[in-house]
């Protein structure tokens, strides 16, 4: 649409936007990652540039098994999440499951809740001293353990299956009924219809959901840290190598970071290859109708959905209950009261304030830059825009802990010392969540006809004023609902915060982690409840604002 061949660079507003955005992205994404990359090819054991760290990684079992474990956990989680997610999506779109809309909201809620709270509350239930464990032991049974590989996969699966569900149900709702009717008309029975028509058509969406699950698993730090015990996965190893007092080796930690990012990039490349090339666009004239089941059949179909959701939401319920229980240090119940809350307010008030202040600041930047960047990407296409487009994708493949390390190594020396400040926390939130807002903002702009802006300009309003009074204003609702989702992930953020926090800039998520490690269950539960309640309220606001048509994925 826009066309300015070989014209001199215009020093207008958008020029400065592009310059500032590219500069900021380079400073806070490219430069930190570049620092990690250069650090990974040095070592304090060998002189000069070396692949020593990588050699060591692939030759020592202590290191390479973490990669294998990470891949194992990701693969199994993805497999189980896929089965559960597709099953629920099919049942929810095709049958009259009671309370369907409410279930849909609950599924989204369980996805938005912080993952490590799930891990923590399963410890409360099935941990060494857990409620279920103790009950079963008292009855003379051996309780399954939540620690180790299986526990991690279990918690991840319950937390992440909503991704698959959301992608798949979106696709299933957009299949025109006539496709399946045509297959039926051509003599296919029900099972073969599902296998030959429905499944292949929704397969790209299922795969997209699976890749989200896989990437989230690969990057997540909190769950395996709490549940892993001896079973160390890659992100936990990065943390240990970088943070623990015993074996700090920033060079090795950098090399490990590079390996994680490489894995994520492979997944993303796979997604580009498989998912985007095989996406079908369908004009859905007649969306699928749900089959009305009755009696036992309806019950049989709905029961698994309710069971899975119960398991997925159980952690939230446990945490809320736990927060009102006061325990002695040895774990004996002292009473039901608000002492946990009193304790955190007196001791951890700063963390609570920080969490909301940092997240709010991050959201302001995310909204402003989200709108500006989306506009540049969609309406000001060119070399600068495609550069921004590439840079903005980076955070997708850089796990939070890796970005955290990158920011530390990049900004712990002059000229720009940011380590330990609130700024570096906010920067990490903005950088990590910006892509999601940009994506929803540009999706909105793509479907908004440019002639609306042209009409405004044509009627005598300057392009600049048109952008602020017309375009930005129209984008705001869509961007805001995306921003609230980002806000939720910001307040629940652990993996980069745990790297970047200092005494003064610690957050609720970090405090929960520390309290759990210190076995101080009550205060951890109270903190987690605060996060959960904030999450639920924020989600309800989004549901309200978007009339239930919220897009998470």
């Amino acid at each position: 649409m826009t066309d300015r061949p070989r014209r001199k660079i215009k020093l207008d507003f958008w020029f400065f936007v592009k310059v500032i955005v590219i500069f900021a992205l380079c400073l806070f994404i490219v430069y930190p990652f570049y620092t990690i990359l250069t650090k990974s090819v040095f070592s304090n054991k060998v002189e000069g540039v070396t692949l020593y760290n990588f050699q060591r990684f692939f030759s020592k079992k202590y290191y390479y098994r973490t990669l294998l474990r990470s891949l194992a956990i990701c693969s199994f989680t993805t497999l189980f999440a896929c089965i559960i997610g597709v099953f629920i999506a099919y049942v929810m779109t095709r049958y009259n499951v009671p309370g369907k809309n409410f279930l849909h909201v609950l599924i989204i809620l369980s996805l938005m809740s912080p993952p490590f709270i799930g891990a923590y509350s399963w410890i409360v239930l099935l941990g060494r001293n857990g409620l279920i464990t103790r009950t079963l032991t008292a009855l003379g049974f051996a309780a399954p353990t939540i620690y180790g590989r299986n526990g991690i996969i279990f918690v991840f699966t319950l937390h992440l299956f909503p991704y698959v569900y959301l992608y798949t149900s979106g696709a299933m709702n957009s299949i025109d009924v006539s496709l399946e009717e045509a297959a039926e008309n051509l003599g296919m029975n029900k099972l073969r219809r599902i296998m030959t028509i429905t499944l292949p058509v929704v397969l790209p969406s299922i795969l997209a959901g699976c890749i989200m699950v896989f990437m989230t698993c690969l990057a997540d730090f909190g769950t395996p840290m709490l549940l892993g015990e001896g079973y160390t996965v890659l992100p936990v190893l990065v943390y240990n190598e970088y943070m623990s007092e015993s074996a700090t080796d920033p060079y090795m930690a950098s090399a490990l970071s590079v390996i994680i990012v490489a894995c994520s990039m492979v997944m993303l490349a796979l997604q580009k290859l498989v998912v985007e090339k095989k996406n079908y666009t369908m004009s859905t004239l007649r969306p699928p109708q749900e089959t009305k089941l009755r009696g036992m059949k309806r019950f049989a179909v709905s029961l698994p959905v309710y069971l899975i959701l119960f398991l997925a939401l159980l952690p939230q319920i446990v945490v809320v209950c736990q927060s009102f229980v006061e325990r002695s240090f040895s774990g004996v119940v002292q009473g039901i009261n608000l002492n946990n809350y009193r304790a955190i307010l007196s001791r951890l008030g700063r963390n609570i304030f920080n969490t909301y202040a940092f997240s709010l600041a991050a959201i302001v930047f995310i909204v402003i830059f989200g709108i500006l960047i989306s506009y540049v990407l969609v309406r000001k296409k060119g070399k600068a825009a495609s550069l921004i487009d590439t840079l903005i994708m980076f955070p997708y493949v850089i796990p939070g802990s890796v970005l955290g390390i990158g920011l530390i190594v990049a900004f712990n020396r002059k000229p720009l010392i940011l380590v330990g400040t609130a700024a570096i926390m906010i920067i990490s939130y903005v950088v990590r969540k910006l892509p999601y807002t940009v994506r929803s903002g540009s999706a909105f702009l793509y479907q908004m006809d440019p002639s609306v802006e042209e009409a405004s300009i044509n009627l005598g309003v300057s392009p600049m004023k048109t952008f602020f009074t017309m375009t930005a204003r129209m984008m705001l609702p869509g961007v805001m609902s995306g921003a609230v989702l980002s806000w939720i992930t910001c307040i629940n953020e652990l993996s980069s915060s745990i790297m970047l926090y200092s005494g003064k800039t610690s957050t609720i998520a970090v405090a929960i982690y520390q309290e759990v490690v210190r076995m101080s269950d009550g205060t951890a539960a109270a903190l987690a409840t605060i996060l959960s309640v904030t999450t639920v309220i924020s989600m309800l606001i989004v549901f309200r604002a978007t009339k239930g048509k919220v897009k998470i994925v």
Partner: protein
């Protein structure tokens, strides 16, 4: 101020592709001027250059005395109706119409008065408080129209404004637009690919193809005297036949069609050799003698019958015969002879330049 629009040697390039080659036009004050052509001919490109949304790679654009090449789009004082209306979705009907007036800092009371007048003119005053999503396509079209002319622009541009409407509404809106333009006397440049629409609405038409103006003229001129085979083929239906000019004397050429039929065509200059003629379906008729052929198909269309006739050499011709002019109906398979209305047909030389007068 004169509201003439003068375009001299306009050139538009997209990289290596030239979308407009040296287009020159003069659109007179108060004129309803249409840019007509198939998609990709450059008509919308030219319109957007006038509006200021496309850069100008060459040539000069004037509104009266003022050269507007370097005037930014929002200062050109042009009304524009977009193909998809581009109604501001978050504003009500009256806010949409008032938008341009506010940008011009018109007083509050005057805005109110002018918006009311404009809405009355397009007959949607009762809908003033509605949101665009509550309007039908035809109603949105009227809002777009009112919004464009309420600012009393020096020029009104319309980019295929009727293409999203159904056939009946299209005809209705067409006459509303035409009457409104007459009444307000705004110089109007209208883009369409629909030749029937162009013929019905325009004072003058520029037929465009592949970035060039093929012919400029009134609807009658363009229809009756197409200056090249493209215009003949694009406007209405034409039968093209190869022929040879065997002699030329006193402004009349003797044309031999396929070695079978000789006709005398009035021409503007001396000519000889290979040529091409085009004839409208109503410029062909059945006769006792002429080019022999067989009726393949006939379609009864009320006021006329359309015949498809296959000449003996295999070429197909379309012939219209008005029902009021004849009582006979030719049956499929019937042997017929075809003659030409030599005064009305068009004759072109090998380069496609018109010879007939």
């Amino acid at each position: 101020m004169s509201n003439e629009v003068i375009i001299q040697h306009a050139v538009k390039r997209y990289g290596d592709f030239t979308a407009l080659h040296d287009v020159s036009l003069t659109i007179e004050q108060g004129e309803f001027f249409t840019l007509l052509g198939p998609s990709g001919c450059g008509k919308t490109t030219l319109l957007r250059m006038i509006a200021g949304f496309n850069s100008i790679e060459g040539g000069d654009f004037y509104f009266g005395e003022n050269r507007i090449n370097d005037v930014p789009a929002h200062k050109r004082d042009i009304g524009m109706v977009f193909q998809n209306y581009a109604i501001f979705p978050h504003l009500t009907v009256e806010e949409n119409v008032a938008y341009g007036l506010k940008a011009r800092k018109v007083g509050k009371e005057e805005i109110e008065r002018r918006v009311k007048e404009a809405l009355e003119l397009v007959q949607i005053l009762p809908l003033a408080k509605r949101k665009p999503s509550e309007l039908s396509g035809g109603q949105q079209q009227r809002v777009a129209l009112a919004r464009a002319f309420v600012i009393e622009p020096s020029v009104l541009l319309m980019d295929e404004p009727l293409s999203n409407l159904d056939a009946k509404l299209r005809v209705q809106m067409r006459s509303i637009i035409k009457k409104l333009q007459r009444r307000l006397g705004i110089t109007t440049i209208y883009v369409t690919h629909d030749q029937e629409e162009a013929l019905a609405i325009s004072d003058r038409i520029a037929v465009m193809n592949q970035g060039r103006v093929m012919q400029i003229g009134t609807p009658r001129e363009i229809y009756a005297r197409p200056e090249n085979p493209f215009v003949a083929g694009f406007i209405g239906v034409s039968n093209f036949l190869n022929c040879e000019v065997t002699g030329c004397e006193g402004g009349v050429a003797r044309v031999c069609i396929k070695g079978e039929l000789d006709i005398d065509v009035p021409v503007r200059r001396h000519c000889t050799g290979e040529a091409q003629l085009s004839a409208r379906p109503e410029q062909l008729f059945f006769a006792a003698q002429g080019m022999p052929g067989t009726v393949l198909f006939s379609t009864f269309l009320g006021d006329f019958i359309e015949y498809e006739v296959k000449l003996d050499d295999g070429q197909m011709l379309i012939i219209n015969e008005y029902t009021k002019d004849t009582a006979t109906v030719h049956e499929v398979g019937e042997r017929v002879h075809i003659r030409f209305d030599a005064v009305r047909i068009s004759l072109y030389d090998e380069a496609g330049e018109v010879l007939s007068r």
